[in-house]
Amino acid sequence: MIRKSWLPVTVILFIIIIWELSSRFFAIPDWILPAPTGIMTEALAGWADYQHHIFSTIQLTIYGFLLGVTIGLLIAIALHLMPKLREALYPLLIMSQNIPIIVLAPLLVIWFGFGLTPKLIIIVLVCFFPIAVATIDGLRQTNPELIHYMKMAGATNKQIFTKLELPHALPSIFSGLKISATYSVMGAVISEWLGANQGIGVYMTLASSSFRTDRVFVAILFIMILCMLFFAIIIGLEKLLIRWRKDENG
């Protein structure tokens, strides 16, 4: 892990250096694009003021992501096991991705108030879809030779599912998890625009409305860090669970 990560770190450092230099060279005003050093200064100086926003968003993201993934997996499994249901509900799944927040927000507020519920719904809506699509596709791509064997051996549908299709779909599921994890942090930030008192989303809108572009970028910095963290956790889990692949190619 450590040996491998120097390359992306180098690239990122390189980009930051280019950015800093061009900021200085072209004298780009801070309110358009602050220099990395400016952002870092603000990040360090303001830590005490904004850290509660970050922890609040982390919490929200975790709840939302776990809920979203659970729902996504359950939907995928249900639709896979019941092809009739898949036919009937697949269009609804797609539709669910096309309700703009601007419309959903008022409805959610009227139905659920300004509490945690509407925010979780937003994150779930963002997260569940990539997981569900990837899982359904993964389940359908199981090696037919192995399915034939399982059927001949007398496996019940449940056994075919748990012992064959699910492990076989794991790589696809992780592919979906990676997309969802990436979206979950942004989902949480967006959900905070829907009426929250703290969180990175709140911090960012305030910063933006008072023209503190440097703070906006501090917010983005943390969104990115969070996201990379989530992503790293998913990849770690993937490595842990899909061991055999490594051996196979080794």
Binding site: Y149, K151, M152, A155, Q159, P167, W244, E248
Partner: protein, 247 residues
């Protein structure tokens, strides 16, 4: 210990009729072999018995019970090993057992050792040679709980000695537990050495064109294969098969 009776079985894929009005019987504790040209429909017969495909016509009975299209009645070894790449050898061999009862890992380990795979119990299928994978699939079928065993070319990838060893092992298990066995092979010596009865399938659409009862006593010794009676029988079957091929 089961009786298998196939009556008037027909099956076609698309427009091709593969099996037509096939009749076939395996008596309780009997060891029956199927011989036939490549592509004649031997594996298809297994798939029909196993309930994977629905026949176009006909009935398959196990112990007098209609099991047409019903799965899980046989212990099965497919022609290609069909191992799960994410399971170790040990996890693979207990798979069929797992479907019905708590797997007996102790026994599985013993059987893997007997099959010469003691060093590979925790390896993944991709780390095995072709013959090793075939032995894993063989052990898996022996560990299944059903009493009708269907083996589809189980020893095709093995060298003569490993093959002989596996044959003797199979016979010893068979003599002890007396399951009914339906066996597909292309090796005429093997089929004579193992079987009570040989069914020869003709070319398409396949049907049993000759039935040969093997007169040799049991238990059989390896030396049997060198006796003139054995060679005579081998020659006879050889000619039958040549007849099919020259059609």
């Amino acid at each position: 210990m089961s009786t298998l009776a196939i009556k008037d079985l027909s099956k076609s894929f698309g427009g091709d009729t593969i099996l037509s009005q096939l009749e076939l019987k395996v008596n309780e504790g009997e060891f029956v072999s199927l011989l036939g040209p490549s592509g004649s429909g031997k594996s298809t017969i297994f798939h029909l018995i196993g309930g994977l495909y629905q026949p176009d016509k006909g009935i398959i009975e196990l112990d007098g019970k209609d099991i047409t299209g019903q799965k899980g009645s046989i212990s099965y070894m497919p022609q290609s090993p069909s191992l799960f790449p994410w399971r170790t050898v040990l996890e693979n061999v207990v798979l069929a057992q797992e479907l019905f009862e708590k797997p007996d890992k102790q026994k599985a380990t013993e059987m893997l050792t007997r099959a010469g795979l003691a060093d590979y119990i925790n390896s993944y299928p991709a780390q095995l040679s072709g013959g090793m994978r075939q032995r894993v699939a063989f052990v898996r079928s022996l560990l299944s709980p059903q009493s009708l065993i269907c083996l589809d070319e189980p020893f095709s990838a093995l060298d003569e000695f490993t093959r002989l060893d596996m044959q003797k092992w199979l016979l010893s298990i068979w003599e002890e537990e007396r399951p009914s066995v339906l066996f597909v092979t292309h090796n005429i010596e093997e089929t004579i050495f193992l079987s009570d009865r040989i069914l020869v399938l003709g070319a398409r659409p396949a049907n049993v064109i000759e039935e040969i009862s093997i007169p040799f006593d049991r238990p059989r010794e390896e030396s049997l294969t060198l006796t003139p009676e054995f060679l005579q029988l081998k020659k006879q079957i050889f000619h039958t098969l040549r007849g099919i091929n020259n059609d």
